[in-house]
Symmetry: C2
Subunit: 340 residues, 2 copies
């Protein structure tokens, strides 16, 4: 482990000069010395000590990826493939910019703040924010810039990257309407709990409205989670007198549950029931028929979050910004045309 000091000694210059070379302050070093010092650095494979740099400068070059623990199970949310993808992309993008990423799973705001000051974190990205109260408090108290994914509060300045959920609900519904469907179900977690779900539902209502339809309460399946929830919805649909000809599920796993249960009860997908999901997760292409679903561009999302954070780190003016990304339909085989 050779140090900057030793390099300075070997080159016969001051530590400052070596430091300037390492930090590419070429204006402060003569080309000859720079070259000579570079050679020595190369020769000994010198690698700067980030802890020392962090201590003396005020920048740690560490970004925290904040991972709320799941309520009940306290499992890591990296169990969710979406989160894994986001973290993976974020790490790669940050690495290109010479930032390092630390993971920080947490239950309380306190834990995050402690973590942040432990390492003098330069900035944080919060993924899959679950509880609004915590997210709110975090954006208020975070010492360094914080980018929140998928959540925004209008009552305080914050950095956020959003997805156009209303549009997602709208285009999914429109897609079905254009194919002749008129009785369209909408299944998801409790609408009131989540603004994401609420927005998607609003898009659904808007599309129906354009066709002179109003939402049928019987077709709003609220309060169903993941695959088991989807299976329950499937059971209900199978048992209905006037079945919907199509359902939109706010999650691929819910859609998968619906499909699985309906197939079990001998309904044909998509002939008897068309299904659209959300997210284009891995299972969407693995099940048969392949699931038609509303996709968000996760890579783009990660890039936006990283850019926004980096801007905020270098320019403290930028503490209130928001980007909303679009969504698109991925067509596979789970939707058929419907002629009443």
């Amino acid at each position: 482990m050779i140090t900057l000091k030793e390099i300075a000694a070997e080159a016969g210059v001051s530590m400052m000069t070596v430091s300037n070379v390492i930090n590419h302050n070429w204006a402060r070093v003569s080309p000859e010395k720079a070259e000579q010092i570079l050679a020595i650095i190369d020769k000994y494979h010198y690698v700067p000590n980030m802890a020392a740099r962090s201590l003396s400068s005020k920048a740690s070059h560490i970004v925290a990826v904040l991972l709320p623990l799941w309520y009940e199970t306290a499992d890591s949310l990296l169990l969710d493939p979406y989160a894994g993808q986001m973290v993976g992309m974020i790490e790669m993008l940050l690495r290109e910019k010479n930032y390092y990423v630390m993971l920080c799973s947490f239950k309380t705001v306190e834990q995050v703040l402690t973590f942040q000051s432990n390492w003098q974190i330069d900035g944080s990205i919060l993924i899959l924010p679950h509880e609004d109260a915590i997210t709110h408090e975090l954006t208020e108290k975070s010492a360094s810039p914080l980018v929140v994914i998928d959540r925004r509060f209008e009552d305080l300045p914050m950095l956020s990257v959003l997805v156009d959920d209303e549009k997602g609900g709208y285009i999914a519904t429109k897609y079905l309407l254009e194919r002749g469907h008129r009785r369209i179900g909408f299944a998801g977690p409790n609408f009131k709990d989540s603004s994401v779900i609420q927005s998607r539902y609003n898009g659904y209502v808007r599309a129906l409205g354009e066709y002179g339809l109003s939402p049928d309460p019987e077709l709003a399946f609220s309060g169903y989670y993941h695959q088991p929830g989807g299976e329950e919805v499937g059971k209900i649909i199978v048992g209905m007198e006037r079945r919907p000809s199509a359902v939109i599920a706010t999650e691929d796993s819910i859609a998968c549950g619906i499909i699985k249960m309906c197939q079990k009860k001998s309904m044909r997908i998509p002939e008897d029931l068309s299904v659209i999901g959300f997210d284009d997760s891995l299972p969407a292409r693995l099940i048969s028929p392949g699931l038609t679903t509303v996709r968000q561009d996760i890579q783009h999302k990660a890039a936006c979050a990283v850019n926004m954070l980096l801007n905020a780190i270098s320019d403290s003016e930028k503490r209130d910004d928001s980007v909303t990304l679009s969504v698109e339909i991925v067509e596979r085989e789970s939707v058929a045309s419907w002629a009443e």
Copy 2:
């Protein structure tokens, strides 16, 4: 940001005494002073600066999770849900032990070594090692302890956590044999490329042997990857004169591809073809019929890796150790009994 020095001043003691309190060296502090100092720490919400600690002690308390980038795409391997789960579990376990985790995706050994010395990493865990040459070089050159998951070389000391793949292949095959199957296919990536696949195949051969059967080359589908590969295998099976009555796939996604294609070609699963996968990944339960598969306990695996690493960090004697975890069959609906 209050510092240790300021706390010492306020308490009227030396920095050393405060340091001893913070580090729980109770033997070196009188109870009264300790209590008083604790109160001050609490009052100001003092949080130690890890960079400073890392610099002066030799321990950074940082563990690196090493993520090889995928060959072709250079995508983050966190796209793989398995990797996400591992990383999530590792982070939680390490956090309990007061370690911090940094992510480090890489293509070259050089990148990892630089990263390690940048932060004076205490130890590393390598997930999903792809290229043997890189893994080998890494275990040789890593400055601090390195735990390798799913790989072991007999020619050098190393820390590794393995899964009993031979047993996995064996029990899957046995499971089918016991249900009357005699023509059993085996589908996976190129057997020669990966010792994991080779071991599973060996288990398959051993189980067949116990029933007086020898492997039929026509039923060894080697060189197929992920879902598209599975679909190809499905196509082949559908077109065969003497179809197998069951197939074992070395990955759930391959199994899903086989099922999807066979269903498309009007074969019934499991009546016409039984399928067993490996991994018990999310899709296994989302498809219909639910996929019977060989599961490894990822939580346990992560815990073993973390324990092994922590032991090696605190005791430099422990630089050669290996644990092999067992596997089990998760029964769902993709296997039927077979009567020739």
